[in-house]
């Protein structure tokens, strides 16, 4: 908060009575602070009874922007607050990360105590002890700081409406983080219930800058016009200065064309680490994080004990220890993933290093913002490319930062899985009458378009487990009482439901524990399943030996053996956002040597300069396309016939476009493709020659029948199947077991893959099954973006280059090992040409 010389202004006037006003004013003065305009605006709006969204970055004093008026409101309503404390919860503060809760609690409690308000602040998250929860149950703190999942759990307990009746406010912190996820939908639904239960409630969100702030507010408040009209969007307008420095390899010629680890440049960051107090090294995946940590220690043992690692799969205690160690400056560097993107400010962090393209401007800004909070000075972030072309991304990022381009967060629509979870939650606690709940559901942004039919489908799903009554069916979940109350009666169903709220959504996670006890973290089952007892692997920076697997627990002991087997995780690769893609395409133009020109083009950054030999080679073997050209390359290797397409639109769009094109080609004649893609382009690899002219002649990039064709091409790929994983868990179809309990649940464990197949074969109109496809279109394939990309391609001139060998552009794509496939050949025909994978 800004230091002040003049604090005599009358900023409190008109808000509260004079006595309270002077108390606040004194408090701020005693801190040497002068309230920011955005704080004052928020205070006023809140006390005027408005709802709203506050757009302010971390570390800007946003907590006080909303906590102060909540306290003031209480003092206003309770003039005798000093002698008589009015019981009952006043406000809920939602935070997406547990790690943030302590910080908020301290700030809030501090202010409440200094003003002698007698208000209490409590935390309730997955980490809160059983006894503490029970205590809260009897007597809620005045401010409860919690996560969306823990709030859901409160709604799943009896009598919640009495507990929440006294609420005057709910603040959803880091709303931008929740918005583009199903936790956001969970919040929307919880809010829809609280609006009814607590008549005095004001709804506020706090969001970092995103492209669609207005929409973010609409999602938060829902479609209820009374709320919308009485709401306000407050912007802090604090510009953060960020300086991006790329680490450019000294020998560009030997710098690899592909790869995603970036270890070649490890030595380059050592001096950076040594020169600053604390350095955060951000990687894009947990696997990469593990590897970097390991390699730094291997090459520089002198760092032992001074560097640590932080990612989402490491046990909570270790993570908290690391966070604390950053604060008290006992660490030189921390290798982290997005688990450290958010949250608490770590004052000692002087430097941030980003390894590999962050793929989005917002993420990059957030990470950069983790360093150096000294006012006036810019935050410095180093960018370390993992392969040559990523330097282009670095150059594009610099521009994005300068031009303040930020991405949108796309909210989910009609997430029936979350709705089903919500309905069962209500049925577990008090039970519900559908005619009372339906208007609430309909008033949320997510479900504004829900039809009566869909609503009835959901009710049938939770009560009879299908759409028509089955003879002798023992389906049990929600029962309907003669009065028409929807209620869960089975204690076991209720317990299973509570446990499944907030389980980490992933296929199968295994706990890693020492044989002697002691939890290390969680890893994906597929990784452990490849190993035999006695095998060693590196996880959380330790070398561990697998002793045995017992009920979803991998029991390990420390090992002194050396191993190259570092734990790895599925997924986690982010696509280039559409904003970044556009800047990237423009940036590439500055790398082109105009035809006949000998003088370098004007806007050349050091990154583009360093890439010149690669662009030259690309020009020699193919071309670097200009704005009006669409490049297609074909060549043959031992693996088969490669056809490469370069729309430069980001991974997800390429994923969709490759399936679409492969499908359309396969309609012409039976053929099988294996598909690969990165942020720059995609590849169709086949064992048959592919004549590009046929694609052009048949107008296969057409936007017509896009949806239909995509749907059909997706039947052959497995995208929807993967989306279904989350849906099955959230809707309670897949039970993940009792955490840390030795109760056998094996007989109830099925995998979502199997369920997906069963739905496909026997209940293809199931809304949850269909949702998997819809999510694939809207969130994964970004249908709208795909359509625009196709329009662009159709307006461009296609250049087909038949190359001798792999070009610099193609190299990172053709070596990608994560592949999809698409085929129009009969399965049996394909099998005859395949070979069995044998034991090595």
């Amino acid at each position: 908060m800004k230091k002040t010389k003049d604090s005599g202004s009358n900023q409190w006037q008109g808000l509260v009575d004079e006595e309270i006003a002077s108390l606040c004013s004194q408090w701020f003065k005693s801190k040497g602070w002068n309230p920011f305009p955005f704080q004052q605006k928020t205070w006023k709006a809140f006390l005027d009874g408005k709802h709203g969204l506050l757009n302010a970055p971390t570390g800007s004093g946003k907590t006080y922007a909303l906590w102060v008026p909540i306290v003031l409101q209480y003092l206003k309503n309770n003039p005798e607050y000093k002698t008589k404390h009015t019981k009952g919860i006043k406000a809920i503060w939602i935070t997406p990360l547990r790690a943030l809760s302590v910080e908020i609690q301290q700030a809030a409690q501090h202010f409440a105590d200094d003003l002698e308000t007698g208000l209490t602040v409590g935390i309730r998250t997955g980490d809160t002890s059983q006894s503490e929860r029970a205590k809260q149950k009897r007597q809620m703190p005045d401010l409860l700081i919690t996560t969306p999942e823990s709030l859901m759990l409160l709604l799943a307990s009896k009598g919640y409406e009495k507990t929440f009746k006294t609420l005057t406010a709910i603040v959803v912190d880091e709303w931008h983080e929740l918005l583009g996820s199903k936790r956001g939908v969970q919040m929307e639904l919880a809010l829809s219930r609280l609006k009814t239960v607590s008549s005095e409630i004001r709804i506020w969100g706090i969001s970092a800058t995103i492209g669609n702030l207005e929409e973010a507010m609409d999602v938060l408040l829902g479609t209820d016009s009374r709320l919308r009209e009485n709401s306000v969007l407050v912007k802090a307008n604090q510009k953060s200065k960020i300086e991006v420095r790329s680490i450019i390899p000294k020998k560009m010629e030997t710098f690899p064309w592909r790869g995603h680890l970036g270890l070649h440049l490890l030595e380059e960051i050592i001096p950076i680490i040594k020169a600053s107090r604390t350095t955060l090294i951000f990687t894009n995946t947990r696997g990469q994080c593990e590897i970097w940590f390991q390699k730094i220690l291997e090459k520089h043992p002198e760092f032992a004990g001074e560097i640590a690692m932080h990612h989402g799969s490491i046990g909570k205690d270790t993570r908290l220890w690391v966070e604390q160690a950053i604060r008290n400056e006992s660490l030189t560097a921390v290798v982290a993933t997005s688990s450290l993107d958010l949250g608490v400010d770590f004052a000692p962090v002087e430097t941030v290093i980003q390894i590999g393209g962050p793929k989005g401007v917002a993420k990059f800004l957030q990470r950069a913002g983790r360093s150096n909070h000294r006012p006036g000075e810019p935050s410095v972030i180093y960018f370390l490319p993992t392969h040559a072309l990523e330097l282009l991304e670095a150059s594009a990022l610099k521009r994005a930062v300068k031009d303040e381009v930020v991405e949108d967060r796309i909210p989910y629509l009609l997430s029936f899985d979350v709705l089903i979870q919500h309905l069962v939650t209500l049925a577990v606690s008090n039970g519900f009458f559908p005619k009372e709940i339906f208007p609430e559901i309909k008033s949320t942004f997510c479900f504004q378009e829900i039809t009566e039919d869909q609503w009835n489908w959901c009710l049938n799903f939770i009560t009879i487990g299908s759409q028509s009554l089955q003879a002798y069916d023992e389906y049990q979940k929600v029962k309907v009482t003669p009065e028409g109350l929807f209620k869960v009666e089975s204690r076991q169903i209720a317990m299973m439901h509570r446990l499944s709220i907030g389980t980490i959504v992933s296929d199968s996670m295994m706990l890693v524990k020492y044989v002697s006890g002691g939890f290390i973290g969680t890893i994906e089952e597929w990784f452990i399943s490849k190993m035999k007892p006695g095998d060693t692997f590196v996880f959380a920076g330790r070398t561990l030996e697998l002793v045995r697997i017992r009920q979803m627990q991998a029991q390990v002991r420390k090992s002194s053996k050396r191993t190259a087997n570092i734990v790895s995780f599925m997924g986690g690769r982010l696509p280039l956002s559409s904003q970044m893609s556009k800047i990237l395409r423009e940036e590439m133009q500055s790398a082109r040597l105009p035809v006949g020109a000998t003088v370098a083009p004007k806007r050349k950054t050091p990154e583009i300069e360093a890439l010149s030999h690669i662009f030259e080679r690309q020009e020699r073997e193919s071309i670097v396309p200009n704005e009006s050209e669409f490049l297609i390359e074909t060549f043959k290797t031992r693996e088969g016939f490669h056809s490469l397409f370069y729309p430069f639109e980001g991974r997800f769009v390429h994923e969709a476009m490759s399936s679409l094109l492969a499908y359309r080609i396969s309609l012409l004649s039976p053929i099988t493709f294996s598909l690969a893609y990165n942020d720059y382009g995609f590849e169709l690899l086949s064992d048959q020659f592919l004549d590009i002219q046929t694609i052009l002649d048949n107008n296969l990039f057409s936007e017509e029948y896009l949806y239909d064709d995509l749907q059909k091409s997706l039947n052959s790929t497995e995208l929807a199947r993967r989306k279904f994983r989350d849906i099955a868990v959230i809707s309670g179809m897949v039970f993940q077991g009792y955490p840390n309990k030795a109760i056998k649940t094996k007989h109830l464990q099925s995998n979502s893959q199997l369920l997906f197949d069963v739905f496909r074969d026997y209940e293809a109109d199931n809304l949850l099954y269909l949702q998997a496809y819809r999510e694939t279109f809207e969130h994964q394939l970004e249908e709208g973006r795909l359509r625009r990309a196709l329009e662009r391609i159709n307006s461009q001139k296609t250049i087909w280059k038949q190359c001798e060998k792999a070009t610099p552009f193609s190299f990172p794509i053709i070596t990608d090992r994560l592949r999809e496939k698409l085929s129009s050949e009969k399965l049996a025909d394909r099998i005859k040409r395949m070979t069995l994978q044998l034991m090595k």
Partner: protein, 213 residues
């Protein structure tokens, strides 16, 4: 669509349903049907489509109508769980079917034996017949050829252009053969065969030998 197999002078037919017909004994071998699994899941609140359960019995009927066996031998995990309503459908099916029924019990078969005996189904832990050893868990015994289930074998196929596919299969080694799971609400366990093993994959209603001879 059927694959014929000759083992120790006996003739076997591998059927794309996952069943094996033993000609000499007029016996149909079927492993891991996991009846009752759908109902079991539904009882605990997971709305698995009911049709999946009906289809299991339909498939049993079709397969036995096709071969007209004298004996149907289930190699374990016939019923997935405790008694539930799918048992009644199974009872009706047993009444309808002409053949004698034998069950080699598996790890999931926790339904009391007498209930099977009431249906005239004989229950064994294992069975030896003319040099063939029928079990639920794969079990090697010298001098005997073992037929078993339990594993739900599947294999992964690879092709040019980095294609890959996972398919259920009959998995044969020198002295044993593991049957694929017959039930439709069951998973697959992917095996990596050695060069000596023979693998018969099930692909769209066909049984195809995918291992090199």
């Amino acid at each position: 669509m059927i694959h014929d197999l000759h083992i120790n002078n006996h003739n076997f037919k591998l059927h794309p349903s996952g069943a094996i017909y033993w000609e000499e004994k007029k016996m149909l071998l079927i492993a891991d049907v996991h009846l009752g699994k759908v109902a079991h899941f539904r009882k605990y609140g997971a709305a698995v489509p009911v049709d999946a359960a009906f289809k299991n019995l339909e498939k049993l009927t079709e397969t036995s109508n096709y071969f007209q066996p004298e004996i149907i031998c289930f190699l374990g995990d016939l019923f997935h769980s405790k008694l539930n309503d799918e048992w009644h459908d199974f009872e009706k099916w047993v009444e309808y079917i002409q053949a004698e029924i034998i069950l080699i019990s598996g790890n999931h078969d926790i339904i009391p034996k007498y209930l099977y005996q009431d249906l005239d189904i004989k229950v064994f832990d294992e069975l030896t017949l003319e040099g063939f050893y029928l079990t639920h868990h794969p079990t090697e015994i010298k001098g005997l050829f073992n037929f078993s289930g339990h594993i739900h074998p599947g294999i992964k196929m690879r092709g040019l252009g980095r294609q890959s596919l996972r398919l259920p299969c009959f998995y044969k080694t020198l002295n044993s053969l593991i049957l694929p799971a017959f039930g439709n609400f069951t998973g697959k366990h992917i095996l990596t065969p050695s060069k000596k093993d023979e693998v018969f994959a099930i692909v769209e209603g066909e049984v195809i030998c995918v291992s090199q001879k």
